[in-house]
Symmetry: C2
Subunit: 317 residues, 2 copies
């Protein structure tokens, strides 16, 4: 049996998974990232965990076909180095080279959202052209064109979260103003709730008057109870998300636009209204309006599964 | 000798050109569009002009390899029909079928900005990945990927001018609010001048106090003379153009971003400042900041030349 190991590096956790040829994850493992540690220490930790993880699952290093890694940043496909992973504080680092010091295997690296998009593609119903927006602390985006991760003209892949959505908007970590990430991430949703909360709001009661405690759960639960401030928050957020969806569809004309991330499960309160807004915006474009907006199905496993099979993305070889 | 005929259909004029295998236009011809005429009448007029134009240049119909047509709207590559050409009032029309009633030749059709981008590619210094924004009454955009017009997942091509640049912005002809076209077209530049003119402005004097007479020439000529209102207008316009350039570069990562349209000749007052703004916005992205912004070189001939050789774009066959 051949095995594939995938790693999804996040700002908080590093998740490991093993899949076989059936493209299903059958083992998972997770450690804290502690991103303030030195880059070399984190990679060393990663290497030790790979060895132990394989061991625990009785998989020999020989039967491991390849390792794939998704990272929250910009990866240069030609050099295979990370150009920038702001949330990790990694700039111009060579994860593959560093990890190869410990483990002598083919290692593939990609942007985490690209890897997640590729993972969703692997389990999709035959999609070949697809775009995905992953809504989390930040916003990742991935584009699949002709069944492969679309790297654009320089093969560097995308950071759709850093497209400008709001001219002269809020300042992003990257230094620019009005990045998509500042308006459609879950961080943005929570900020919008804080901006729209009154002391009469159910949200205010649920967080005991301490608005720093507001999270997605509180917002959606109050919106379900028809709390005005929560509904207004979702209306504002939904308008921005619809804009982001519309621009993504207009830019890549995918067969489907997928929305991933924890809050994408909110079909009734979020996804359905966004579908309606986007359909209206696309209506002048004729048949293009049929582009469906679908929910990602793998959740957090998408990035791990996609990473497992980055070796299948032949453009990267 | 083999000949190629290209047609660039605009809202005001329909331009015809003939090229040989050297990929140079050696004959041009133009008629008024009069877009209020019936679609069938316009196409009939087009057919008669093709016949006469070939005749005038002593080119036999037999030596004509193909005809290519660029239209200001969305073209469906699979059906070869026009989905929408708002400025012409054409919706779901079959230009090829209609023209084939008069002329029995292979006819290719494309969005005019795609055709212009392809034309610029043909005379570029070996570019294979390129994006172009054409600034005129509206805004066209074209993307070349791997040497071919990039049609996206549904092969419909792009209308980059209808990406949203300003949420809740001005209402576009297409019905949406804040389209790029409303902020970086020459129409937008003139509107911005009118919004920023005071009666002390040189622009005010140059149009004899009748601001409806303001055009690009007045704006750039006054800006050259350091007129404050003209400079402010170009600053506002330049900020939007820089945003559009940044988003286009981030979306397709081309080897170069080309700017076309009449005002792209304004290197010192417009293109250079925009280059500086975009370089600053791209700087967090590491090496990507090197993406050059270059001026298109063919002017109005780009669309005609590109149309001549649409047959070379094998994806369209």
């Amino acid at each position: 049996m051949k095995y594939y190991l995938g790693i999804d590096v996040g700002g908080t956790n590093i998740a490991f998974g093993i899949a076989d040829e059936s493209k299903r994850l059958f083992a998972k493992h997770s450690i804290k990232t502690n991103p303030k540690r030195d880059f070399e220490i984190i990679i060393q930790d990663m290497a030790e965990n790979i060895v132990n993880f394989l061991d625990t699952n009785n998989i020999s290093m020989d039967s491991l076909q390849s390792i794939g890694i998704g990272v929250p940043g910009i990866v240069d496909f030609s050099t295979k180095k990370i150009v920038m992973a702001a949330n990790l504080g990694w700039y111009d680092v060579d994860v593959i080279g560093e990890l190869n010091k410990y483990i002598n295997k083919d290692i593939y690296i990609a942007n985490d959202a690209d890897a997640a998009t590729f993972g969703e593609l692997l389990v999709s119903d035959g999609l070949e052209h697809m775009a995905m927006l992953t809504l989390g602390t930040g916003v990742g985006g991935g584009v699949i064109y002709d069944g492969k991760i679309f790297g654009g003209g320089d093969g560097i892949g995308f950071e759709l979260g850093h497209l400008i959505l709001q001219p002269n908007g809020l300042t992003c970590n990257c230094g620019n103003k009005g990045c998509m990430e500042m308006y459609v991430s879950t961080t943005a949703l929570i900020r919008m709730a804080k901006e729209n909360i009154s002391d009469k709001s159910q949200m205010f009661a649920m967080c005991d008057g301490d608005t720093s405690k507001i999270d997605g759960k509180i917002i959606f639960s109050c919106a379900k109870n028809k709390d005005e401030d929560a509904l207004k928050t979702l209306e504002i957020y939904g308008d921005y998300l619809a804009l982001a969806c519309y621009n993504t569809i207009m830019s890549y004309r995918p067969q489907a636009l997928m929305i991933g991330g924890g809050i994408s499960v909110q079909e009734e309160l979020l996804i359905d209204p966004v579908r309606a807004k986007v359909a209206k915006m696309l209506s002048p474009m004729g048949d293009i309006k049929k582009t469906p907006i679908i929910r990602a199905t793998l959740g957090n496993d998408a990035g791990i599964l996609g990473a497992c099979f980055l070796s299948l993305n032949s453009d990267w070889k």
